[in-house]
Amino acid sequence: MEQPQEITWVLLVYKIPREPTSSRATIWRKLKRLGALLLHDAVWVLPATPWTREQFQWLTVEIGELGGEAYLWESHLLLNGQAEALVQQFQAHVDAAYQEILEELSQECTDLVTLSRKYQQVRAQDYFHSALGTHVRERLMRARGGFVT
């Protein structure tokens, strides 16, 4: 992974009509599903990859079709330490979700099907490859029993 200050970020700023509320909810859910962070209730941010760029691009189109307005930006953080802090926010977000999986794994009866699906969803949002993710994966492999490798 590149140094945090060298990371390019994609930013999405949008507004969408209040009604129908289902349109607002759809866009919101997609942003959450992408693991984007909402900064100061204003700007949605993701590290730029071909995939995140494309997802934000199609969301911009969709918001327009829903009668809203969206701007898509690419940017760098200029001040020392801010990129590191942002990366940490992304990490904290996925680590909390990984932690939930670990806690459920330590219960007596665990639903491995649901947990492994949840792991895949969190993994898709794990843009900075949290070490906890590797740990969760190993625990899931062990929990299924039988041969580990």
Binding site: T26, R29, K30, Q55, W58, V61
Partner: protein, 140 residues
């Protein structure tokens, strides 16, 4: 007829190229411009580029739009549209187990192909195979 899209094709564009050649324009010729390029070659039909007719609409992939625009009614093609939707866009409801793998395979095809044209050509085998398999399953 000429068709144009952005470079670095993936799951949706490979599906579209297969659909175009097989159902819409047997002699289709594909051209590519860099992503974000504003000037498109004249006389070529653009697809999977934001804002054009044949593109994502209402949260659906371009393949899905093409079925509507060319009035292609086939339950198996509809099912493939669902798979490509789930592979290419963020979806809450995931019903097609083939979707995630298909995206990875199509990205891989681009990686091992010398250019986009060869990648589209190779992608056709994947969609032929997907169509045959889905057609053999009970309709859903």
């Amino acid at each position: 007829m000429k068709w144009v899209t952005w470079e670095q094709v993936g799951v949706d564009r490979m599906a579209c190229a297969w659909l175009i050649t097989k159902y819409i324009d047997r002699d289709a010729e594909f051209l590519f411009v860099p992503a974000g390029h504003k000037l498109l070659p004249e006389g070529a039909e653009p697809f999977d580029i934001p804002g054009v007719r044949l593109s994502h609409h209402r949260g659906h992939c371009t393949f899905h739009t093409m079925l509507r625009e060319y009035d292609l009614r086939d339950p198996v093609l509809e099912r493939i549209a669902r798979v490509v939707d789930e592979a290419d866009t963020v979806q809450d409801v995931m019903l097609e187990p083939a979707a995630t793998g298909l995206d990875v395979i199509c990205q891989g095809i681009r990686l091992i192909s010398p250019d986009d044209l060869v990648a589209l050509e190779r992608g056709k085998l994947v969609y032929e195979a997907l169509y045959a398999q889905l057609a053999s399953e009970p309709t859903q």
